[in-house]
Symmetry: C2
């Protein structure tokens, strides 16, 4: 979908829109569902069908196949991809090469009738699921080519207490944001932390 | 140079070591020289020869050729690469593909007898050179495979008032840190800012 076409979901108010999560039974999906106060239990197909805005929080393995199976229900919707293609070995985490440049660009290629936005890559499931963590001390970097869609996802990020949605570029600049998760894993290991990012001077 | 070999420069105290800058006449080089209170005017060859620690702040074009011409004077030294391989078009900045994975990994391949550390990618020349900016509100992400060298570069970053050196992973995870500069350019354009990054929970 080009920059100029705006899907139905884009006009939504964040307070009234319904959010679905693909991968809602995984840690990241459960964490985001918890912070957005969503009821769990929907299948991926139901979430894709019934929601106005759909968050993709599935493992990288199977990302392409799942989205390909849901092109019809996801058409005309905003699809938020938060998937980090990463590998792990004895030296820690490292980014996997993605032919399309990033998971988000892969999603956009598979879903030409959806508007894909990249966001929520760095908000760890551990933090999201921890009832002792009342506010999330980090910015959510939001990437996409449709201004109305990125504005909406920024507003959605703002709904997580403590978080702030920050526009961080077009979808072609999403690969390094996904890959940056490997650096956060390295930081967490070195400093025994749950590191996040804040953008200064904003 | 492997993880286990430690070059002479690594044992240095940051307060006493001499710092050289390759590309010291460019904006980024001048900015770092200003913040480290270095006298200007050295040629690249003199800087490589005389300094204990050498910062590479040259344009991406010519990066490989310059380093290849300085392998002998840089042997046994810590080389800090802050180069961001980026292109610009009508849609803004985007990262360039680097066969070695990153500028820092390219430097390490060209300089097998040096210890290469990636750092200072996101500290903009504009901020460094602005006399009105007394403190730099951002963390300096430091990447490398030699713990003593990354510790030293973190200590060097700490010498810039306001800045903090944060270890952010091995050299193989430097590509996305360099590429992230394109996102900061996008953020600066959208928000009319000089954006930097802080790592939270440290």
């Amino acid at each position: 979908m080009s920059d100029r076409q705006v899907p139905p979901g884009v006009g939504l108010d964040v307070a009234s829109m319904s959010i679905g999560i693909l991968g809602g039974t995984g840690d990241e999906g459960r964490g985001l569902a918890h912070r957005f106060a969503l009821a769990g239990g929907m299948t991926n197909a139901d979430a894709a069908e019934s929601a106005d805005v759909v968050i993709v929080a599935v493992p990288w393995d199977g990302h392409a196949a799942l989205l390909a199976s849901l092109t019809a229900p996801l058409a005309g919707k905003i699809v938020i991809d938060c998937v980090n293609p990463m590998g792990f070995d004895e030296r820690g985490a490292y980014p996997l090469a993605v032919p399309e440049g990033s998971a988000a660009q892969q999603a956009a290629a598979i879903l030409p009738d959806s508007v894909v936005v990249g966001a929520f890559h760095h908000v760890s499931a551990v933090v999201l699921l921890d009832p002792a963590v009342g506010t999330v001390d980090q910015d959510v970097l939001v990437l996409g080519d449709n201004r109305q869609a990125t504005d909406l996802v920024q507003a959605l990020a703002d709904r997580i207490p403590g978080a702030r949605g920050v526009y961080a570029g077009r979808l072609r600049n999403c690969g390094q944001i996904e890959a940056l998760t490997a650096n956060l894993v390295s930081i967490n290991r070195r400093y025994k932390a749950h590191a996040g990012l804040r953008v200064t001077d904003l």
